[in-house]
Amino acid sequence: MKARAPLLVALAVLLLPLVFMDLRTYLTLTVAGLAMGMLIFLVAAGLTLIFGLMDVLNFAHGALFSWGAYAGFSAAVLLERRWGWAASPSVAANGLLLLAAIAVAVVVTVGLGVLLERIIVRPVYGQHLFQILITLGATIVLEELIRIVWGPNDQVMPVPATIQGSWDVADVVVLRVPVVAIGLGLAVYAGMQALLNRTRIGLIVRAGVENGEMIQVMGHNIYRYFTGVFAAGSALAGVGGLMWAIFSQSVRPTMGGEQLIFAFIVVIIGGLGSVTGSLVGALLVGLSYNYVAYLVPKAAIGVTMALMVIVLLLRPTGLYGAAK
């Protein structure tokens, strides 16, 4: 019962905006909010495990988000120029383009993630200040590299025709891209839960999140697991970046940094190291941001901060965080 309490309270609060708007607007905003939440979740899920498992503050996570977006963007542009897969009315061609873009984003960000962890993060284990400095430094380098490779300006992301436009469901306009984002987010969440709860690697990672020293004196090489978690987290950030590029139909070099702040807030709201906490936190942030942006546009950024403050006042360890 106690575990469900935060969820029930959250649901009740999320119905509140209905008082101020009609149902159709509410549903449109809800879909948009859930989609935004899912994209933030992709970024936050990696961040929470990286921080939970090794106590590493990774500010380069946002740069991986941008790199995933640009890598996927390049793949999509290439396929569109060559064979016109994005504009093509064929669902198969559209799907292949999307899959290829995701695959390229994953490969590139996993590679970058492993390099970052081995070269930059490993020497500064246990030293938060150095972690912040060096990962911020890496962010600057990675962002500048994007400017060198792809140029400094915004570019238009080719979006597959199948997921452009909207469906009309009982007079409610449902945009397709957000639905795809929601589906992808749920699939990632289900996959992570299965991996964490049903495999031995997941068991060791969960134990390591709670007590990293104990897992080492039991004979598990936590560094090896951590490299894997870092790579997986990087891949999630990359996929999140790509989905964000499709969602906003554009890519730009600073896109990752903007999302990172949301992701950190979500990690804190959800509780460090908790994937479920990240999902709930991300959805809360996405939904409340969209409701408030419609009702009181100027307060939209503030509401995420307010949400964090309220959660921390009620539960200092976050919604699902275990006290360490």
Binding site: L203, E210, V217, M218
Partner: protein, 235 residues
């Protein structure tokens, strides 16, 4: 040379600026229980943590079966066959009892299954609460789980840090029985403040004071030496 499973030679360990161990030397006989005694802050836990590789010594050596291990990371030391039951138990509270035991088992084979059954016979409570989250266990049950985790693997040496801390006397009696059963299977290095428990279990003792080993000998000789007990243990 007499047989020694673990040898600690003139160990010095710093924690931050503090010079905690200033010359700890131990020779642990195989198949015996050796207890480390000394006041709070004498360096008993630091000795254990240095042996386990969690802390790195600034001087001195640790040898297991004659092989130096003090430069190895903790996970390699553990895989040599050294089990560690830390002070405060180190239980994974968000995991179930069963998951705690499974994460500890380095090989899930027939032998570890047999050892698991043995340990669950010793601690029937663990079997009963097998699917409960470990955070919901009582202090005594958590201690049993922590010891059980170290016993799941075919460890030849168990380092057990203050198992009786914070437990009710009746639970301590049960622990003494369980540890007695375990000494059939492994060499034990024990830190224990409870002198009654220490003398019930230990064959040998080492006395640590201000980060140095000052005395050692057989437990029987210490029990008779009131002067020594008074000077270093205040009893």
């Amino acid at each position: 040379m007499d047989t020694t499973i673990l040898e600690v030679e003139d160990l010095h360990t710093h924690i931050g600026q503090h010079h905690i161990l200033q010359g700890v030397s131990l020779r642990i006989r195989p198949d015996a229980v050796t207890v480390l005694l000394g006041r709070n802050g004498a360096g008993k836990t630091t000795t254990m943590r240095t042996i386990m590789g969690v802390l790195h010594p600034t001087r001195g050596a640790v040898r297991f079966d004659g092989r130096p291990i003090h430069h190895l990371p903790p996970y390699e030391i553990a895989r040599l066959g050294i089990g560690y039951v830390p002070e405060g138990q180190g239980i994974f509270g968000t995991l179930t009892v069963d998951e705690n035991l499974r994460v500890a088992a380095l090989a899930e084979d027939a032998a570890s299954g047999r050892r698991l059954k043995q340990i669950l016979d010793l601690f029937p409570d663990l079997d009963r609460f097998r699917h409960a989250r470990a955070a919901t266990l009582s202090g005594g049950q958590k201690q049993m789980l922590s010891i059980a985790r170290a016993f799941v693997n075919p460890n030849r040496l168990l380092l057990i840090d203050e198992p009786s801390k914070g437990l009710a006397p009746i639970i301590v009696l049960h622990l003494v029985d369980a540890l007695r059963a375990m000494k059939q299977h492994a060499t034990v290095l024990l830190v224990e403040q409870n002198f009654a428990m220490a003398s019930a279990l230990a064959d040998d003792f080492y006395l640590i004071d201000d980060g140095r080993t000052v005395r050692h000998g057989s437990m029987a000789s210490l029990a008779a030496d009131h002067e020594l007990k008074k000077k270093y243990l205040g009893i």
